[in-house]
Protein backbone atom coordinates (compact mmCIF):
# COMPACT_ATOMS: atom_id res chain seq x y z
CA UNK A 1 0.00 0.00 0.00
CA UNK A 2 2.68 2.46 1.03
CA UNK A 3 4.75 1.57 -1.98
CA UNK A 4 1.72 2.12 -4.18
CA UNK A 5 1.23 5.58 -2.70
CA UNK A 6 4.85 6.46 -3.33
CA UNK A 7 4.51 5.48 -6.96
CA UNK A 8 1.35 7.57 -7.17
CA UNK A 9 3.15 10.56 -5.77
CA UNK A 10 6.09 10.09 -8.07
CA UNK A 11 4.05 9.92 -11.20
CA UNK A 12 2.24 13.11 -10.27
CA UNK A 13 5.54 14.85 -9.59
CA UNK A 14 6.99 13.54 -12.82
CA UNK A 15 3.98 14.80 -14.67
CA UNK A 16 4.37 18.25 -13.11
CA UNK A 17 8.04 18.38 -14.02
CA UNK A 18 7.21 17.44 -17.58
CA UNK A 19 4.69 20.27 -17.73
CA UNK A 20 7.16 22.78 -16.37
CA UNK A 21 9.78 21.70 -18.89
CA UNK A 22 7.40 22.22 -21.79
CA UNK A 23 6.60 25.66 -20.47
CA UNK A 24 10.27 26.65 -20.18
CA UNK A 25 11.01 25.36 -23.66
CA UNK A 26 8.01 27.25 -25.03
CA UNK A 27 9.23 30.49 -23.45
CA UNK A 28 12.73 30.00 -24.82
CA UNK A 29 11.89 28.96 -28.35
CA UNK A 30 8.95 31.19 -29.18
CA UNK A 31 10.56 34.28 -27.67
CA UNK A 32 7.14 35.75 -26.96
CA UNK A 33 7.16 38.91 -24.82
CA UNK A 34 6.40 38.46 -21.14
CA UNK A 35 2.98 40.07 -21.39
CA UNK A 36 1.96 37.26 -23.71
CA UNK A 37 3.87 34.35 -22.20
CA UNK A 38 5.71 35.01 -18.93
CA UNK A 39 8.40 32.64 -17.75
CA UNK A 40 7.95 30.32 -14.77
CA UNK A 41 10.31 32.46 -12.70
CA UNK A 42 8.29 35.61 -13.36
CA UNK A 43 5.07 33.87 -12.43
CA UNK A 44 6.66 32.40 -9.33
CA UNK A 45 7.88 35.72 -8.00
CA UNK A 46 4.50 37.29 -8.72
CA UNK A 47 2.90 34.46 -6.80
CA UNK A 48 5.16 35.06 -3.81
CA UNK A 49 4.28 38.75 -3.87
CA UNK A 50 0.53 38.31 -3.78
CA UNK A 51 0.81 35.45 -1.33
CA UNK A 52 2.79 37.58 1.08
CA UNK A 53 0.64 40.68 0.82
CA UNK A 54 -2.33 38.44 1.53
CA UNK A 55 -4.47 39.49 -1.43
CA UNK A 56 -4.25 36.05 -3.04
CA UNK A 57 -5.66 34.36 0.03
CA UNK A 58 -8.53 36.78 0.21
CA UNK A 59 -9.53 36.01 -3.37
CA UNK A 60 -9.06 32.29 -2.90
CA UNK A 61 -11.30 32.40 0.11
CA UNK A 62 -14.10 34.18 -1.76
CA UNK A 63 -13.96 31.88 -4.76
CA UNK A 64 -13.67 28.76 -2.64
CA UNK A 65 -16.68 29.82 -0.67
CA UNK A 66 -18.72 30.38 -3.84
CA UNK A 67 -17.60 27.05 -5.24
CA UNK A 68 -18.46 25.08 -2.16
CA UNK A 69 -21.88 26.65 -1.81
CA UNK A 70 -22.58 26.40 -5.55
CA UNK A 71 -21.47 22.81 -5.67
CA UNK A 72 -23.56 21.86 -2.68
CA UNK A 73 -26.63 23.62 -4.04
CA UNK A 74 -26.25 22.47 -7.65
CA UNK A 75 -25.26 18.89 -6.94
CA UNK A 76 -27.83 18.57 -4.20
CA UNK A 77 -30.67 19.74 -6.40
CA UNK A 78 -29.40 17.67 -9.30
CA UNK A 79 -29.35 14.48 -7.28
CA UNK A 80 -32.85 15.15 -6.00
CA UNK A 81 -34.32 16.01 -9.38
CA UNK A 82 -32.29 13.33 -11.11
CA UNK A 83 -33.75 10.79 -8.77
CA UNK A 84 -37.26 11.94 -9.51
CA UNK A 85 -36.62 11.87 -13.26
CA UNK A 86 -35.00 8.45 -13.08
CA UNK A 87 -37.94 6.98 -11.23
CA UNK A 88 -40.74 8.39 -13.34
CA UNK A 89 -40.81 8.38 -17.11
CA UNK A 90 -43.70 10.78 -16.79
CA UNK A 91 -41.63 13.33 -14.90
CA UNK A 92 -38.78 12.77 -17.27
CA UNK A 93 -40.89 13.60 -20.29
CA UNK A 94 -42.34 16.64 -18.62
CA UNK A 95 -39.18 18.04 -17.07
CA UNK A 96 -36.51 17.07 -19.62
CA UNK A 97 -37.17 19.91 -22.04
CA UNK A 98 -36.76 22.45 -19.25
CA UNK A 99 -33.76 20.79 -17.73
CA UNK A 100 -31.99 20.63 -21.07
CA UNK A 101 -33.12 24.15 -21.88
CA UNK A 102 -31.73 25.41 -18.59
CA UNK A 103 -28.39 24.10 -19.76
CA UNK A 104 -28.62 25.29 -23.30
CA UNK A 105 -29.12 28.91 -22.32
CA UNK A 106 -25.56 30.03 -22.68
CA UNK A 107 -24.46 30.66 -19.14
CA UNK A 108 -22.44 33.56 -20.42
CA UNK A 109 -25.64 35.16 -21.61
CA UNK A 110 -27.50 34.27 -18.48
CA UNK A 111 -24.83 35.25 -16.00
CA UNK A 112 -25.26 39.02 -16.46
CA UNK A 113 -28.98 38.62 -15.90
CA UNK A 114 -28.41 36.72 -12.71
CA UNK A 115 -26.03 39.40 -11.53
CA UNK A 116 -28.72 41.88 -12.46
CA UNK A 117 -31.46 40.07 -10.57
CA UNK A 118 -29.58 38.89 -7.54
CA UNK A 119 -27.11 41.70 -7.21
CA UNK A 120 -23.38 41.59 -7.68
CA UNK A 121 -22.81 39.79 -4.39
CA UNK A 122 -22.20 36.21 -3.46
CA UNK A 123 -25.67 34.93 -4.37
CA UNK A 124 -25.43 35.43 -8.10
CA UNK A 125 -22.07 33.64 -8.26
CA UNK A 126 -23.33 30.74 -6.21
CA UNK A 127 -26.31 30.46 -8.51
CA UNK A 128 -24.22 30.49 -11.66
CA UNK A 129 -21.93 27.95 -10.15
CA UNK A 130 -24.74 25.62 -9.18
CA UNK A 131 -26.38 26.03 -12.56
CA UNK A 132 -23.20 24.83 -14.24
CA UNK A 133 -22.79 21.92 -11.87
CA UNK A 134 -26.40 20.88 -12.08
CA UNK A 135 -26.70 19.11 -15.39
CA UNK A 136 -23.81 16.65 -15.39
CA UNK A 137 -24.73 15.52 -11.91
CA UNK A 138 -28.35 15.21 -12.95
CA UNK A 139 -27.61 13.11 -16.02
CA UNK A 140 -25.29 10.81 -14.14
CA UNK A 141 -27.81 10.45 -11.34
CA UNK A 142 -30.40 9.36 -13.87
CA UNK A 143 -28.03 6.96 -15.61
CA UNK A 144 -26.85 5.63 -12.26
CA UNK A 145 -30.28 5.05 -10.76
CA UNK A 146 -31.45 3.38 -13.96
CA UNK A 147 -28.48 1.02 -13.80
CA UNK A 148 -29.53 -0.42 -10.45
CA UNK A 149 -30.02 -4.17 -11.05
CA UNK A 150 -33.67 -5.12 -11.20
CA UNK A 151 -33.02 -8.29 -9.19
CA UNK A 152 -31.77 -6.29 -6.24
CA UNK A 153 -34.86 -4.12 -6.44
CA UNK A 154 -36.86 -7.34 -6.23
CA UNK A 155 -34.90 -8.33 -3.16
CA UNK A 156 -35.68 -5.05 -1.46
CA UNK A 157 -39.33 -5.44 -2.36
CA UNK A 158 -39.56 -8.85 -0.74
CA UNK A 159 -38.01 -7.35 2.38
CA UNK A 160 -40.69 -4.64 2.39
CA UNK A 161 -38.03 -1.96 2.39
CA UNK A 162 -39.34 1.56 2.77
CA UNK A 163 -38.61 4.19 0.16
CA UNK A 164 -35.84 5.68 2.26
CA UNK A 165 -34.30 2.29 2.88
CA UNK A 166 -34.44 1.58 -0.83
CA UNK A 167 -32.48 4.74 -1.46
CA UNK A 168 -29.99 4.28 1.35
CA UNK A 169 -29.38 0.57 1.11
CA UNK A 170 -29.74 -0.02 -2.61
CA UNK A 171 -29.95 2.89 -4.98
CA UNK A 172 -27.31 5.09 -3.49
CA UNK A 173 -24.56 2.45 -3.24
CA UNK A 174 -25.48 0.89 -6.58
CA UNK A 175 -25.52 4.22 -8.42
CA UNK A 176 -22.46 5.52 -6.63
CA UNK A 177 -19.79 4.77 -9.26
CA UNK A 178 -21.70 6.67 -11.92
CA UNK A 179 -22.87 9.35 -9.52
CA UNK A 180 -19.32 10.04 -8.45
CA UNK A 181 -18.40 10.32 -12.10
CA UNK A 182 -20.94 13.13 -12.26
CA UNK A 183 -19.35 14.73 -9.22
CA UNK A 184 -15.96 14.58 -10.89
CA UNK A 185 -17.31 16.57 -13.80
CA UNK A 186 -19.27 18.82 -11.51
CA UNK A 187 -16.26 19.59 -9.35
CA UNK A 188 -14.26 21.03 -12.20
CA UNK A 189 -17.25 22.79 -13.70
CA UNK A 190 -17.99 24.43 -10.36
CA UNK A 191 -14.69 26.26 -10.59
CA UNK A 192 -15.57 27.50 -14.05
CA UNK A 193 -18.99 28.56 -12.86
CA UNK A 194 -17.62 30.68 -10.05
CA UNK A 195 -15.15 32.31 -12.40
CA UNK A 196 -17.80 33.13 -14.98
CA UNK A 197 -19.83 34.74 -12.26
CA UNK A 198 -16.88 36.78 -11.10
CA UNK A 199 -16.01 37.78 -14.65
CA UNK A 200 -19.40 39.20 -15.24
CA UNK A 201 -19.45 41.47 -12.29
CA UNK A 202 -17.68 41.36 -8.99
CA UNK A 203 -14.90 42.99 -7.09
CA UNK A 204 -13.32 39.97 -5.49
CA UNK A 205 -12.45 36.39 -6.17
CA UNK A 206 -9.94 34.76 -8.45
CA UNK A 207 -12.02 35.38 -11.57
CA UNK A 208 -11.98 39.05 -10.74
CA UNK A 209 -8.24 38.82 -10.21
CA UNK A 210 -7.80 37.34 -13.70
CA UNK A 211 -9.89 40.14 -15.10
CA UNK A 212 -8.13 42.96 -13.35
CA UNK A 213 -4.71 41.52 -14.08
CA UNK A 214 -5.63 41.29 -17.74
CA UNK A 215 -6.82 44.86 -17.64
CA UNK A 216 -3.40 45.88 -16.42
CA UNK A 217 -1.60 43.51 -18.79
CA UNK A 218 -0.08 41.86 -15.77
CA UNK A 219 0.12 38.50 -17.49
CA UNK A 220 2.22 36.94 -14.74
CA UNK A 221 -0.59 37.66 -12.32
CA UNK A 222 -3.10 36.22 -14.77
CA UNK A 223 -1.06 33.04 -14.73
CA UNK A 224 -0.93 33.06 -10.94
CA UNK A 225 -4.69 33.42 -10.71
CA UNK A 226 -5.39 30.77 -13.34
CA UNK A 227 -2.82 28.48 -11.75
CA UNK A 228 -4.56 28.87 -8.42
CA UNK A 229 -7.87 28.08 -10.04
CA UNK A 230 -6.38 24.97 -11.58
CA UNK A 231 -4.99 23.96 -8.21
CA UNK A 232 -8.41 24.42 -6.68
CA UNK A 233 -10.06 22.32 -9.36
CA UNK A 234 -7.41 19.65 -8.96
CA UNK A 235 -7.92 19.51 -5.21
CA UNK A 236 -11.67 19.25 -5.59
CA UNK A 237 -11.22 16.56 -8.18
CA UNK A 238 -8.72 14.80 -5.95
CA UNK A 239 -11.24 14.91 -3.16
CA UNK A 240 -13.83 13.16 -5.30
CA UNK A 241 -11.24 10.54 -6.29
CA UNK A 242 -10.42 10.03 -2.64
CA UNK A 243 -14.07 9.51 -1.83
CA UNK A 244 -14.29 7.06 -4.73
CA UNK A 245 -11.34 5.11 -3.39
CA UNK A 246 -12.99 4.96 -0.02
CA UNK A 247 -16.44 3.99 -1.11
CA UNK A 248 -15.79 1.88 -4.16
CA UNK A 249 -13.21 -0.47 -2.68
CA UNK A 250 -15.65 -3.33 -3.25
CA UNK A 251 -15.28 -2.91 -7.00
CA UNK A 252 -11.81 -4.46 -7.01
CA UNK A 253 -11.42 -8.00 -5.80
CA UNK A 254 -8.77 -8.64 -3.19
CA UNK A 255 -6.94 -10.65 -5.83
CA UNK A 256 -6.46 -7.48 -7.88
CA UNK A 257 -5.84 -5.34 -4.85
CA UNK A 258 -2.56 -7.23 -4.28
Amino acid sequence: MIRQRLINLWSVILSLIAGLLIWVVAVETTGLPAFILPSPQQVWSRLIEVAIDGSLWRHIWVTAYEIVLGLALGAGLAVLLGYVVAKSRMMERFLSPYLVASQAIPIVALAPLLVLWFGPGMISKVLICSLVVFFPVLVNTVVGVRAVPEELRDLMRTLHASRTQNILFLELPAALPILLGGFRIGATLAVIGAVVGEFVGSDKGLGFLVNIARGQYDTALVFVAIGTLIAMALSLYGLVILIEKRLLGWQTSSGERQ
Binding site: E151, L152, D154, L155, M156, R157, T158, L159, H160, A161, S162, Q165, F169, L170, P173, A174, L176, L248, W250, Q251, S253, S254, G255
Partner: protein, 260 residues
Protein backbone atom coordinates in the same frame (compact mmCIF):
# COMPACT_ATOMS: atom_id res chain seq x y z
CA UNK B 1 -54.89 -34.76 -3.61
CA UNK B 2 -53.68 -33.41 -0.33
CA UNK B 3 -55.94 -32.56 2.52
CA UNK B 4 -55.17 -30.55 5.56
CA UNK B 5 -56.95 -29.83 8.82
CA UNK B 6 -56.29 -26.08 8.82
CA UNK B 7 -57.39 -23.38 6.50
CA UNK B 8 -54.94 -22.70 3.71
CA UNK B 9 -52.42 -19.90 4.27
CA UNK B 10 -52.14 -19.24 0.58
CA UNK B 11 -54.68 -19.89 -2.14
CA UNK B 12 -53.78 -19.75 -5.78
CA UNK B 13 -56.74 -19.89 -8.05
CA UNK B 14 -56.65 -20.25 -11.79
CA UNK B 15 -53.40 -18.32 -12.09
CA UNK B 16 -52.30 -17.33 -15.58
CA UNK B 17 -49.12 -15.52 -16.55
CA UNK B 18 -47.96 -14.69 -20.01
CA UNK B 19 -45.10 -12.61 -21.37
CA UNK B 20 -45.15 -10.74 -24.65
CA UNK B 21 -43.00 -12.49 -27.21
CA UNK B 22 -41.79 -11.37 -30.63
CA UNK B 23 -44.44 -9.88 -32.83
CA UNK B 24 -47.98 -10.10 -31.57
CA UNK B 25 -47.34 -13.46 -29.93
CA UNK B 26 -47.47 -14.03 -26.24
CA UNK B 27 -45.64 -16.69 -24.30
CA UNK B 28 -48.05 -18.57 -22.02
CA UNK B 29 -45.92 -19.40 -19.04
CA UNK B 30 -48.50 -20.36 -16.46
CA UNK B 31 -51.83 -21.49 -17.75
CA UNK B 32 -54.55 -21.73 -15.14
CA UNK B 33 -52.79 -23.03 -12.06
CA UNK B 34 -54.68 -23.65 -8.82
CA UNK B 35 -53.42 -24.97 -5.52
CA UNK B 36 -53.41 -24.18 -1.85
CA UNK B 37 -50.63 -24.04 0.68
CA UNK B 38 -51.33 -24.81 4.31
CA UNK B 39 -49.75 -23.37 7.42
CA UNK B 40 -46.35 -24.80 8.34
CA UNK B 41 -46.29 -26.83 5.18
CA UNK B 42 -43.07 -27.64 3.38
CA UNK B 43 -44.01 -27.71 -0.28
CA UNK B 44 -41.60 -28.54 -3.08
CA UNK B 45 -42.07 -27.79 -6.74
CA UNK B 46 -40.48 -29.85 -9.47
CA UNK B 47 -40.64 -29.13 -13.17
CA UNK B 48 -38.60 -28.89 -16.32
CA UNK B 49 -36.33 -25.95 -17.00
CA UNK B 50 -38.21 -22.94 -18.29
CA UNK B 51 -41.63 -24.19 -17.26
CA UNK B 52 -42.43 -21.24 -15.03
CA UNK B 53 -41.29 -22.17 -11.52
CA UNK B 54 -39.38 -18.96 -10.93
CA UNK B 55 -42.26 -17.02 -12.42
CA UNK B 56 -44.63 -18.70 -9.98
CA UNK B 57 -42.47 -17.79 -7.00
CA UNK B 58 -42.22 -14.22 -8.25
CA UNK B 59 -45.99 -13.98 -8.45
CA UNK B 60 -46.35 -15.37 -4.94
CA UNK B 61 -43.71 -12.95 -3.63
CA UNK B 62 -45.65 -10.10 -5.20
CA UNK B 63 -42.86 -9.20 -7.62
CA UNK B 64 -44.99 -9.86 -10.66
CA UNK B 65 -48.69 -9.28 -11.07
CA UNK B 66 -50.48 -12.19 -12.67
CA UNK B 67 -52.23 -11.84 -16.00
CA UNK B 68 -55.33 -13.50 -14.58
CA UNK B 69 -56.37 -15.45 -11.53
CA UNK B 70 -55.82 -14.90 -7.88
CA UNK B 71 -53.09 -15.18 -5.28
CA UNK B 72 -54.53 -14.68 -1.80
CA UNK B 73 -52.90 -14.92 1.58
CA UNK B 74 -56.04 -16.26 3.15
CA UNK B 75 -55.01 -16.88 6.71
CA UNK B 76 -53.73 -13.43 7.43
CA UNK B 77 -56.19 -11.15 9.25
CA UNK B 78 -55.56 -8.32 6.88
CA UNK B 79 -55.04 -9.67 3.42
CA UNK B 80 -51.78 -7.74 3.13
CA UNK B 81 -48.75 -9.50 1.77
CA UNK B 82 -46.60 -11.03 4.47
CA UNK B 83 -42.84 -10.55 4.62
CA UNK B 84 -41.35 -13.33 2.56
CA UNK B 85 -37.84 -14.69 2.64
CA UNK B 86 -36.89 -15.30 -0.96
CA UNK B 87 -33.76 -17.12 -2.01
CA UNK B 88 -33.26 -16.28 -5.65
CA UNK B 89 -31.99 -18.65 -8.26
CA UNK B 90 -28.90 -16.47 -8.66
CA UNK B 91 -27.45 -15.54 -5.28
CA UNK B 92 -28.35 -11.87 -5.82
CA UNK B 93 -26.07 -10.36 -3.22
CA UNK B 94 -25.13 -6.70 -2.95
CA UNK B 95 -21.59 -6.48 -4.30
CA UNK B 96 -20.75 -3.52 -2.07
CA UNK B 97 -21.62 -5.35 1.12
CA UNK B 98 -19.51 -7.94 2.87
CA UNK B 99 -20.85 -11.41 3.63
CA UNK B 100 -21.68 -10.25 7.14
CA UNK B 101 -23.62 -7.20 6.09
CA UNK B 102 -25.33 -8.96 3.22
CA UNK B 103 -26.73 -11.33 5.78
CA UNK B 104 -27.66 -8.54 8.14
CA UNK B 105 -29.57 -6.61 5.46
CA UNK B 106 -33.04 -7.97 6.29
CA UNK B 107 -32.53 -7.09 9.95
CA UNK B 108 -31.30 -3.61 9.14
CA UNK B 109 -34.36 -3.08 7.03
CA UNK B 110 -36.59 -4.44 9.76
CA UNK B 111 -35.04 -1.77 11.98
CA UNK B 112 -33.13 -3.84 14.52
CA UNK B 113 -30.32 -1.96 16.25
CA UNK B 114 -26.94 -2.94 14.75
CA UNK B 115 -25.54 -4.40 17.94
CA UNK B 116 -28.42 -6.75 18.57
CA UNK B 117 -27.83 -9.39 15.96
CA UNK B 118 -24.11 -9.87 15.52
CA UNK B 119 -24.06 -13.12 17.50
CA UNK B 120 -26.91 -14.57 15.47
CA UNK B 121 -25.12 -13.70 12.24
CA UNK B 122 -21.89 -15.28 13.38
CA UNK B 123 -23.87 -18.43 14.16
CA UNK B 124 -25.45 -18.45 10.73
CA UNK B 125 -22.12 -17.87 9.04
CA UNK B 126 -20.84 -20.87 10.89
CA UNK B 127 -23.95 -22.86 9.99
CA UNK B 128 -23.42 -22.33 6.26
CA UNK B 129 -19.71 -23.09 6.63
CA UNK B 130 -18.33 -19.67 5.90
CA UNK B 131 -16.32 -19.05 9.04
CA UNK B 132 -13.59 -16.55 8.34
CA UNK B 133 -15.35 -15.10 5.29
CA UNK B 134 -17.55 -12.64 7.18
CA UNK B 135 -15.59 -9.68 5.92
CA UNK B 136 -15.16 -10.89 2.34
CA UNK B 137 -16.92 -9.24 -0.54
CA UNK B 138 -19.10 -11.35 -2.85
CA UNK B 139 -16.68 -11.14 -5.75
CA UNK B 140 -14.09 -13.01 -3.73
CA UNK B 141 -16.37 -15.98 -3.08
CA UNK B 142 -17.01 -19.14 -5.03
CA UNK B 143 -20.37 -19.86 -6.63
CA UNK B 144 -21.45 -22.22 -3.89
CA UNK B 145 -20.33 -19.84 -1.18
CA UNK B 146 -22.44 -17.07 -2.69
CA UNK B 147 -25.44 -19.31 -2.62
CA UNK B 148 -24.81 -20.17 1.01
CA UNK B 149 -24.68 -16.49 1.88
CA UNK B 150 -28.04 -16.05 0.17
CA UNK B 151 -29.46 -18.92 2.22
CA UNK B 152 -28.16 -17.38 5.42
CA UNK B 153 -29.72 -14.07 4.44
CA UNK B 154 -33.11 -15.73 3.99
CA UNK B 155 -32.84 -17.50 7.32
CA UNK B 156 -31.77 -14.51 9.38
CA UNK B 157 -35.13 -12.86 9.74
CA UNK B 158 -38.13 -14.93 10.59
CA UNK B 159 -40.45 -14.57 7.62
CA UNK B 160 -43.74 -16.40 7.84
CA UNK B 161 -43.25 -17.62 4.29
CA UNK B 162 -40.02 -18.78 2.73
CA UNK B 163 -39.68 -19.07 -1.02
CA UNK B 164 -36.61 -20.96 -2.13
CA UNK B 165 -35.66 -21.05 -5.81
CA UNK B 166 -33.17 -23.90 -6.21
CA UNK B 167 -31.33 -22.82 -3.10
CA UNK B 168 -28.82 -25.64 -3.25
CA UNK B 169 -28.26 -25.61 -7.01
CA UNK B 170 -24.56 -24.93 -7.02
CA UNK B 171 -23.59 -26.90 -3.96
CA UNK B 172 -21.79 -30.20 -4.00
CA UNK B 173 -23.74 -33.25 -2.96
CA UNK B 174 -22.50 -33.27 0.60
CA UNK B 175 -22.80 -29.61 1.35
CA UNK B 176 -26.19 -29.80 -0.24
CA UNK B 177 -27.35 -32.54 2.07
CA UNK B 178 -25.94 -30.78 5.08
CA UNK B 179 -27.71 -27.54 4.13
CA UNK B 180 -30.91 -29.52 3.60
CA UNK B 181 -30.68 -30.99 7.09
CA UNK B 182 -30.00 -27.55 8.54
CA UNK B 183 -32.99 -26.14 6.74
CA UNK B 184 -35.11 -28.97 8.07
CA UNK B 185 -33.93 -28.30 11.62
CA UNK B 186 -34.76 -24.66 11.37
CA UNK B 187 -38.11 -25.44 9.84
CA UNK B 188 -38.95 -28.00 12.51
CA UNK B 189 -38.31 -25.46 15.22
CA UNK B 190 -39.91 -22.43 13.67
CA UNK B 191 -42.55 -24.18 11.54
CA UNK B 192 -42.49 -21.63 8.77
CA UNK B 193 -44.34 -22.23 5.57
CA UNK B 194 -41.83 -23.11 2.87
CA UNK B 195 -42.21 -23.32 -0.89
CA UNK B 196 -39.09 -24.64 -2.54
CA UNK B 197 -38.21 -25.11 -6.18
CA UNK B 198 -35.68 -27.86 -6.68
CA UNK B 199 -34.40 -30.16 -9.35
CA UNK B 200 -33.49 -32.96 -7.03
CA UNK B 201 -36.19 -35.54 -6.53
CA UNK B 202 -34.59 -37.07 -3.46
CA UNK B 203 -34.17 -33.67 -1.91
CA UNK B 204 -37.83 -32.93 -2.54
CA UNK B 205 -38.90 -36.18 -0.93
CA UNK B 206 -36.54 -35.85 2.00
CA UNK B 207 -37.58 -32.36 2.93
CA UNK B 208 -41.21 -31.92 1.94
CA UNK B 209 -44.70 -32.55 3.22
CA UNK B 210 -45.93 -32.33 -0.30
CA UNK B 211 -44.45 -32.15 -3.79
CA UNK B 212 -46.02 -30.59 -6.87
CA UNK B 213 -44.79 -31.59 -10.31
CA UNK B 214 -45.38 -29.02 -13.00
CA UNK B 215 -45.78 -29.70 -16.69
CA UNK B 216 -43.73 -27.93 -19.35
CA UNK B 217 -44.84 -24.50 -20.45
CA UNK B 218 -47.65 -23.53 -19.88
CA UNK B 219 -47.22 -24.83 -16.34
CA UNK B 220 -50.03 -26.95 -14.97
CA UNK B 221 -50.08 -29.37 -12.07
CA UNK B 222 -49.12 -32.81 -13.22
CA UNK B 223 -48.95 -34.43 -9.84
CA UNK B 224 -49.67 -33.24 -6.32
CA UNK B 225 -48.09 -35.78 -4.01
CA UNK B 226 -48.33 -35.97 -0.22
CA UNK B 227 -45.05 -37.17 1.33
CA UNK B 228 -46.25 -39.18 4.30
CA UNK B 229 -42.88 -39.96 5.79
CA UNK B 230 -42.69 -39.57 9.53
CA UNK B 231 -40.91 -36.62 11.06
CA UNK B 232 -38.35 -35.86 12.35
CA UNK B 233 -36.46 -37.26 9.42
CA UNK B 234 -32.78 -38.08 9.35
CA UNK B 235 -30.31 -39.94 7.18
CA UNK B 236 -32.15 -43.19 7.77
CA UNK B 237 -35.27 -41.81 6.20
CA UNK B 238 -33.54 -42.03 2.84
CA UNK B 239 -33.28 -45.79 3.17
CA UNK B 240 -36.91 -46.49 3.99
CA UNK B 241 -38.77 -48.34 1.20
CA UNK B 242 -41.47 -45.68 1.23
CA UNK B 243 -38.83 -43.10 0.30
CA UNK B 244 -37.88 -45.06 -2.79
CA UNK B 245 -41.51 -45.55 -3.77
CA UNK B 246 -42.29 -41.86 -3.53
CA UNK B 247 -39.19 -40.96 -5.50
CA UNK B 248 -40.17 -43.39 -8.20
CA UNK B 249 -43.68 -41.95 -8.43
CA UNK B 250 -42.27 -38.50 -8.86
CA UNK B 251 -39.72 -39.59 -11.45
CA UNK B 252 -42.48 -41.26 -13.40
CA UNK B 253 -44.61 -38.12 -13.36
CA UNK B 254 -41.69 -36.06 -14.59
CA UNK B 255 -40.63 -38.45 -17.33
CA UNK B 256 -44.18 -38.98 -18.52
CA UNK B 257 -44.85 -35.32 -18.95
CA UNK B 258 -41.63 -34.73 -20.81
CA UNK B 259 -42.27 -37.55 -23.20
CA UNK B 260 -45.83 -36.64 -24.05
Amino acid sequence: MSQHPNNPVLTIANLRVCFPAKGADTLNVIGGLSFQVYPHEFLSILGPSGCGKTTLLRVIAGLLSPGAGNVAFTSLPDSSKPAVGLVFQQANLMPWRTVYSNISLPLEIAGYPPGSYSKRIRELIHLVGLDGFGDSYPRDLSGGMLQRVAIARALIHDPALMLLDEPFGSLDALTRERMGVELLNIWQVSRKTVIMVTHSISEAVFLSDRVIVLSPRPALINLDLRINLPRPRDENTRYQPQFGRLAKTLRKAIVEEQVT
